[in-house]
């Protein structure tokens, strides 16, 4: 028992050691080689910059996270909805799936010009981009999950007299949950990145906008500070969904 408790903490220790080494190398390189801020600022400078601009950065992070979350929620709904529709009406599969795969084969960033032109540089274009990026991942993982169901379990449910909907609700949805949730977890980081990338191409606020502005103002400390914040926000979002995943999937 005590071993089981001790070993993860060793892992955490090593993780921290790795992070400390990285920061030390970075700091050492930046200071030791006298790298100017526009090449690579020192971590300490970035953290100081982060602190001094904390209000702006937190506002921007809020803006970006809002876009990412709304887009993410929308994307999940669309993905799950389509997958369930396909599960209930198998004929839809051959109509939706090739279409979805084709759209998905173009990298999301490819759509950004069109989406920016269609939806403007406000919040809505970011939400659409995030929703697009997320919904395909969700659709595919949800479908894979729904298809994973054991035929014999379906037969069992049918032998109890269950309807198609009963089978979906009591058997197929729970079966799909693990794959759905892992798809959702992977999508978190993606949603934040897509929001930021789209912001950098045109926006009215957000971390991507801050990064873009900071580059123009040649304020590289702020660029890095914004990147730090973006990374922290992604990690937090990722951690949250991961936590929910573990809570929900208690049986795995």
């Amino acid at each position: 028992m005590s071993r089981a408790l001790a070993s993860p903490s060793l892992a955490v220790q090593r993780g921290i050691l790795g992070a400390v080494l990285l920061v030390a190398c970075w700091e050492g390189a930046a200071r030791g080689l006298h790298l100017p801020a526009y090449v690579l600022p020192a971590v300490s400078d970035i953290l100081a910059g982060l602190w001094s601009k904390r209000v702006t950065l937190i506002d921007a992070a809020g803006y970006t996270l809002l876009e990412a979350l709304v887009g993410y929620g929308l994307g999940c709904l669309i993905g799950i909805g389509l997958a369930v529709a396909i599960a209930l009406v198998p004929a839809l599969r051959s109509a939706i799936l090739p279409f979805a795969t084709a759209i998905n084969s173009v990298p999301v960033v490819g759509y950004s010009p069109l989406i920016l032109l269609w939806f403007g540089i406000g919040v809505s274009s970011k939400i659409v981009m995030v929703a697009m990026a997320v919904s395909f991942t969700i659709l595919l993982s949800m479908l894979a999950g729904l298809d994973r169901v054991d035929r014999r379990a379906v037969d069992l449910m049918k032998s109890f007299g269950a309807s198609r909907f009963g089978v979906l609700w009591r058997l197929r949805l729970p079966t799909a949950l693990p794959l759905l949730l892992s798809g959702m977890r992977v999508s978190t980081v993606r949603s934040v990145i897509v929001a930021i990338v789209t912001e950098m191409l045109g926006a009215q606020g957000g971390l991507g906008w801050v990064i873009y502005q900071a580059v123009l103002q040649i304020d590289f400390v702020q660029v890095w500070a914004a990147i730090f914040v973006a990374s922290a926000a992604s990690l937090a979002f990722f951690g949250l969904i991961g936590f929910l995943e573990r809570k929900i999937l208690f049986w795995t």
């Binding site: 526009y38 040649i218 590289f220």
Partner: protein, 313 residues
């Protein structure tokens, strides 16, 4: 002989288009080679900063944002020097509908105005200040890549460059339905598209800089005398461009480059007065934190060393 060629690169502020025609023509006609330079032209892109790339030595020459960005770079301690100014007058204008509610700049109040926060916002602020209008009296929004919101009537005033957006707007709206506000009418000039080099280059390789300027001037003069050929040259690099638009662009760019002091002194002339005015303005509105040493930031000696006849268009 190729062995004696000196390697160098020019970083543009954006992707290839007629705005940069002279450089492409000079390269295509071998003017840089003739001056002993093996020049690579590198395009810009979103989130790429010419000042940064030149300061770090990644590129030898740069066509940077404008006087504003040169000041900002010097203010942040980037060791760059401006060796020439391309657009002698402000390339931005503010566009509204003739039949719309905005008749004078006073009418901007309470209206939706979109602009770029990459320099054009300073022009707008300057014009407003001259008229005694505070920026918070109107709705200033970042401008998107598309002019559609203006065309659709969702925006009252839009920012445009003479050579790009203004063309798009004109092509999508009835003729003579537009009214423009020009910075110079309000006594403000923001020269833009500045040529920069690193301080080290300016100090250690003055001959290279001069040679580069000589070749570029030749290229631009050729471009102006044969605009069709120049657009051909540009479109050889970027074939998907719209020819009509590129020809229009070159015409407008010629106007901007030969305006003001350049008419008398030639292309890439550094108009010290205009630069000084802009500097004082930026200092006043806090765009730069402290006064910049103008003599160090703008070195007119290179362009002045070239015979006037070679400079004049």
């Amino acid at each position: 002989p190729a062995a004696e060629l000196q390697k160098a690169s020019l970083r543009l502020k954006w992707l290839p288009q007629a705005q940069f025609a002279g450089f492409y023509v000079a390269a295509a006609k071998g003017y840089y080679k003739a001056e002993g330079i093996d020049l690579t032209i590198n395009p810009g892109g979103p989130n790429l900063l010419t000042e940064n790339l030149v300061a770090t030595g990644a590129d030898t020459f740069g066509l940077s944002g404008g006087t504003d960005s040169v000041f900002a770079a010097r203010d942040k301690g980037l060791p760059i020097v401006c060796i020439g100014v391309s657009h002698q007058i402000t390339p931005f204008i503010f566009v509204t509908r003739k039949d719309g509610p905005v008749k004078t700049i006073q009418d901007f109040k309470g209206k939706t105005v979109t602009t770029w926060f990459t320099g054009a916002n300073h022009v707008l602020n300057g014009m407003l200040a001259k008229e005694g209008i505070k920026p918070d009296e109107l709705k200033i929004q970042p401008q998107q890549v598309s002019v559609t919101p203006f065309v659709d009537g969702n925006v009252d005033v839009i920012t445009a460059t003479y050579y790009n957006e203004f063309y798009t707007i004109q092509s999508r709206m009835p003729k003579d339905s537009l009214k423009t506000f020009v910075a110079e009418d309000y006594g403000i000039t923001f020269p833009r598209d500045t040529l920069i080099v690193a301080e080290a280059t300016a100090k250690e390789k003055p001959e290279l800089v001069k040679a580069f300027l000589r070749a570029s001037l030749k290229g631009w003069k050729d471009a102006f005398s044969d605009p069709k050929g120049a657009v051909d040259t540009v479109m050889a690099t970027a074939p998907t461009l719209d020819r009509a638009q590129q020809e229009f662009m070159l015409t407008e760019v010629k106007r901007l480059m030969t305006a003001g002091a350049a008419a008398k002194n030639g292309l890439f002339w550094i108009d010290t007065d205009a630069v000084k005015t802009a500097h004082d303005f930026f200092l006043k509105y806090g765009v730069i934190s402290k006064p910049v040493d103008l003599a160090a930031a703008y070195d007119a000696s290179f362009i002045q060393s070239i015979p006037a006849a070679d400079r004049l268009p």
